[in-house]
Homo-oligomer: 211 residues x 2
């Protein structure tokens, strides 16, 4: 009985195998270019099991999309809502965390953004309270205080957020192009991104005062 439980705990269930495979393939190819056969092949299971466990390709995709977006946003929400860290510290935490996160999962940004744009996200954005999440955050308050004290020249917090996300995320999205321009292999590109962990907070700080 005890022995049987241990053995079971070590085995991955079919459902989990499918999800793991779907994550890989959807992230790489997107919804439209992914065939259910691709996922079954990646999971090493029989094709019909996708419908048995998830009912449809679409439902499976919604599950993966939700988990991907939630997993990406989770740490962002934590940092933005942390009353104890300063604005500068928040920038450092976000730059550091997301450069590592995306280095490990380089397909996630463009996957999320193109599926959102293609309306394959099933109204996911409307269902996440992201407006409240940002506008009611410690970050928002801290930004307003910094503006009031003259520490930040541009009063709109959206510009601040756009700039931070732009500097962290876009290079990964444009990676093939940037590699082409700079003649970089993957290792060299990732090194460059590691440098940006230090540089981005420096740049953001300089931008705060600039008018």
């Amino acid at each position: 009985m005890v022995k049987k439980k241990e053995t079971k705990a070590l085995d991955t269930t079919t459902e989990e195998k499918i999800k793991a495979a779907a994550r890989v393939v959807f992230h790489k190819k997107g919804y439209a270019a992914t065939r259910t056969r691709d996922i079954a092949g990646e999971a090493g299971i029989n094709l019909a099991l996708l419908n048995y466990y998830f009912r449809s390709k679409e439902k499976l995709f919604e599950t993966i999309m939700f988990e991907t977006v939630f997993g990406f946003m989770q740490n962002m929400a934590l940092v933005l809502n942390d009353e104890k860290s300063s604005l500068e510290k928040k920038v450092e935490l976000i730059a550091s965390y997301y450069i590592d996160f995306i280095t490990k999962e380089p397909n996630i940004p463009i996957f999320m953004l193109s599926e959102i744009r293609n309306n394959n996200a099933g109204g996911l954005l409307e269902r996440l309270p992201i407006k409240q999440l940002v506008m009611n955050s410690a970050f928002f308050k801290q930004h307003q205080e910094a503006v009031a004290k003259g520490k930040i020249a541009e009063p709109n917090p959206l510009h601040f957020l756009m700039n931070l996300l732009s500097l962290v995320v876009f290079p990964f999205i444009a990676m093939p192009l940037l590699q082409g321009i700079g003649g970089l292999n993957e290792k060299q590109f990732n090194q460059l991104m590691q440098e940006r962990k230090r540089l981005i907070p420096v740049w953001i700080k300089a931008m705060m005062k600039a008018k």
Copy 2:
């Protein structure tokens, strides 16, 4: 005879109708999610004409992809290679031109970048001499001089380019998300981007000195 020539000049040819429709649909949906029937419908022509004029969906896509990438890069190359404009002026020109360009064609950045990433670009990147284009440019020389004079703290021109492209392009790619965060409609978002024409050169200038 003269009358007949005039009439013909005013009519769009079938080939051009197909290309225009393909541009719209491919930009919006990408290669995988676009059906040849979608393009035929958008062009108001018979489905078989796509194969008659372009032989295959893939060949049509390659044509549109090449024109899109070339059209996007063209002004970039002009500005980067202009010996007469300063580095600061180049930043202004690029921010201004591309914010307007993408405002008119908001699907182009994510279209190009995701098709490049999905290897649907048919080796287009390898065929464009983008490395030489940037590394042999007036921009590159000017960047080196500015570094030598201590005007720019970070010596790698790739960081400079990454930052500029990031600040200009990424907000458009993330538009649905940013609209969600800020509760913006399209007009409000575009207004924000127009502000960035002035702000981005200010920010880039501040970042140049920051160490």
